[in-house]
């Protein structure tokens, strides 16, 4: 499960020896995120975002559990109880802004974590399982965030819930009964709010469980690295602690500065003003938009404006939106280039930057009103999105000639590796 040169946990204090014999939990932690986990020495700052995502999860659970002590999940009083938190609960305004902006921060770091994976080929063998579990975590995060946004029971909460559950109504035959079953009624109401609250409380713990599996799966092959060359010898690695605990500590500091700047000075910048209007089933907002982190997928949903073959436009949109994420599950098998890192894949690299731009364009269009030119732009961007993952990646990985890789991580870092002399002539 680890490299043979990993430090072994050797408790010196008798109490720790006693604990280690009965329940080797300290040993487990030592081997997971302590000096017992050898990590490639060349990780760059893009490798900070996994730890930051874990931090965000804990932050959301802690603030969320406290908010739940003051919030009332009842359609009659939910909006007022949110305002009660903002006005009367001691430091309630800070908890709520920390939680709302914490969701945004969580998605920022997770998107960076995912794009790190895209660029450095982190999804490739032997790390497919880590990637698959990561996509599961992302899906759970989306469900959790969506239900959390419903809880304040403002206008966007209500109409967002109506639009998103309405997506299930596009499924043929079972769509409408399914939608009614999900909502517990014909439209979002108290039954929907109650179940969303219950699930919003539950799912973060499911996420935490999948995170544990994600990290477990990570520790079997060990962390990837920017060269994509696997660890060969001890000189390629450093112990996680103190090297990466120190680096992550600095990264966490930078993250917290940016996060707290938002929290204390621009707490509503990422929210929608309409959510400060109580939910009103009789009054539809001019533009219904989800939170920013859903915009790229919302743009894909809305890009399908025409019926195609036997598929109604709405169903196509729903299929495309879900497929846009589900396609990530197949990434390890769609891209079969033996080279992981984008640094050594000239053709792949160009398309990667186009994809980044494409997702930003989709995001912009998803937040804009459903009018021209945004719809046409999002249609072109949607076409590229599917072409990129399903057509371009498989072809590029077959035809591309990668650049030469360094012999080892040590060589990449130090410029030379004593062991490199032993490498067979190629």
């Amino acid at each position: 499960m680890s490299f043979p040169w990993a430090n072994e946990y050797t408790p010196s204090h008798p109490v720790m020896k006693w604990v280690d014999e009965k329940l080797p939990l300290p040993r487990f932690v030592y081997n997971a995120v302590g000096a017992g986990y050898p990590v490639p020495r060349n990780l760059n700052y893009f490798w900070n975002f996994g730890v930051l995502a874990g931090f965000c999860l804990v932050l959301q659970i802690v603030t969320g559990v406290i908010l739940a002590m003051h919030y009332a999940p009842n359609a009659l009083v939910a909006f007022d109880s949110t305002e009660h938190i903002m006005r009367d609960v001691n430091w309630g305004w800070m908890l709520r802004y920390a939680h709302a902006n914490g969701a945004s921060a969580f998605f920022v770091v997770v998107y960076l974590h995912i794009f790190r994976g895209f660029f450095f080929g982190s999804y490739k063998a032997p790390r497919e399982m880590i990637w698959l579990l990561g996509v599961v975590i992302f899906l759970l995060m989306m469900a959790t965030a969506f239900m959390g946004y419903v809880l304040p029971w403002g206008q966007m909460s209500f109409w967002g819930a109506k639009v998103i559950t309405g997506l299930f109504g596009a499924i043929p035959v079972i769509g409408e009964p399914l939608q009614i079953w999900l909502l517990g009624g014909y439209a979002p109401d108290n039954a929907s709010l109650n179940r969303f609250f219950s699930l919003h409380f539950l799912l973060p713990f499911v996420i935490a469980a999948v995170v544990i599996l994600h990290i477990w799966a990570l520790h079997i092959p060990g962390s990837s690295n920017p060269t994509g060359v696997e660890v060969k010898t001890e000189s390629d690695t450093v112990p996680f602690h103190p090297y990466y605990t120190a680096k992550d500590g600095f990264g966490l500091g930078v993250f917290l500065i940016l996060y707290c700047a938002m929290l204390f000075f621009l707490p509503n910048a990422l929210g929608h003003p309409d959510n400060y209007i109580p939910a009103n089933p009789m009054s539809t907002p001019a533009h219904i938009v989800p939170e920013w982190y859903f915009w790229p997928f919302y743009a894909i949903l809305r890009a399908f404006t025409a019926d195609f073959l036997f598929f109604p436009a709405k169903l196509m949109g729903v299929l495309a939106m879900f497929s846009a994420i589900l396609v990530w599950f197949f990434l390890p098998w769609l891209d079969n280039s033996p080279v992981r890192s984008g640094h050594f894949r000239p053709l792949f690299r160009k398309f990667f930057y186009v994809l980044m731009l494409d997702v930003l364009v989709l995001g912009y269009c998803g937040g804009a009103p459903a009018a021209e030119p945004y719809v046409m732009i999002s249609q072109i961007a949607t076409a590229y999105y599917f072409l990129h993952f399903l057509v371009i990646l498989p072809i590029v990985s077959s035809i591309e000639k990668p650049e030469p890789l360094p012999y080892s991580i040590t060589e990449a870092v130090l410029g030379s590796d004593d062991k490199a002399a032993l490498k067979p002539a190629s």
Partner: protein, 281 residues
């Protein structure tokens, strides 16, 4: 095999979305969307400068008191302030007896202790501002079928809220001649009032602030319409975000501490890595 299926699925979605693009583009060329009066004549809020602007801004309590007076004497006739209690007014600089006196000036719903019947009684600091109408139906009946919205959160419920409120209050005007020329069907209906800062240009509210000295300020400030509109916008920013000052006052030390801690974390990281530095950091 996976890749072959992938390519087919990818082409399916691509063709479908490009088909939607072609259909949409054809429709767009055949029937370009008609311009609307809302699109052409709606205006973004005017600039409004308040002492609470910027990361160091604080409320001007004198102004908040004036704004409260405008709310009390003008707006409260139709608009509720559901989330604000009289006790909260202490934040505007009122003393405890003053808050009690303000509360007592309002009649709030109560219960007769002898008969149990619903009745009205003078307010106390723990009471919330009373609603002007018993329910939405009564509100509609009295206001040309429009419910006057609650004002507690108005400054956060609109983009650029305080400037929006200020612009709306000072933006009533006659419908421009060119609007009527271009969109004759967009003539303001009877009972509504033209205001370019309102999303659909016509709102049910009649201009509430119309004359200088409509409200008599106690602090000597001249109560022009512009001044009253600014004051009530400032007041409604406070009702929407009463913790604004505390939030910023907390934020600065937090950022200061984090900056310090992050510098330390950086130096610690440099020291830990000192023996592992390669040719590139």
């Amino acid at each position: 095999m996976t890749r072959l299926i992938g390519i087919l699925v990818g082409l399916f979605f691509t063709v479908a979305v490009l088909w939607a693009f072609v259909t949409g583009a054809a429709n767009y060329i055949a029937e370009p969307p008609a311009a609307t009066a809302e699109h052409e004549f709606h205006r973004h809020p005017k600039e409004l400068h308040l002492s609470s602007d910027g990361p160091f801004g604080t409320f001007d309590k004198q102004q908040l008191q004036r704004g409260f007076q405008v709310y009390k004497e003008v707006c409260s006739a139709c608009h509720s302030l559901n989330h604000v209690a009289f006790r909260d007014l202490a934040a505007l600089g009122y003393s405890e007896p003053e808050v009690k006196a303000i509360a007592a000036g309002f009649q709030v719903p109560g219960v007769d202790p002898n008969t149990g019947e619903e009745t009205l009684r003078p307010g106390t600091p723990t009471d919330y501002f009373p609603k002007p109408y018993p329910n939405d139906i009564a509100a509609r009946a009295a206001n040309n079928n429009a419910v006057p919205p609650d004002l507690s959160l108005m400054a956060k419920a609109r983009h650029n809220g305080p400037a929006y409120i200020y612009s709306l209050l000072t933006g009533f005007q006659d419908q421009p001649a060119e609007l009527l020329k271009e969109f004759p069907e967009a003539k303001t209906p009877t009972g509504l009032h033209y205001n370019p800062y309102f999303a659909n240009l016509n709102l049910a509210m009649a201009p509430p602030l119309t004359t200088t000295d409509q409200v008599s300020y106690g602090d000597g400030t001249k109560a022009t319409v512009d001044q009253m509109a600014q004051d009530v916008s400032a007041f409604l920013l406070w009702t929407a975000e009463p913790k604004l000052e505390k939030r910023r006052q907390t934020g600065w030390p937090v950022l200061g501490f984090l900056l310090f801690a992050t510098v330390l974390a950086y130096l610690a990281k440099q020291q830990v890595w000192a023996d592992k530095k390669g040719k590139k950091g």
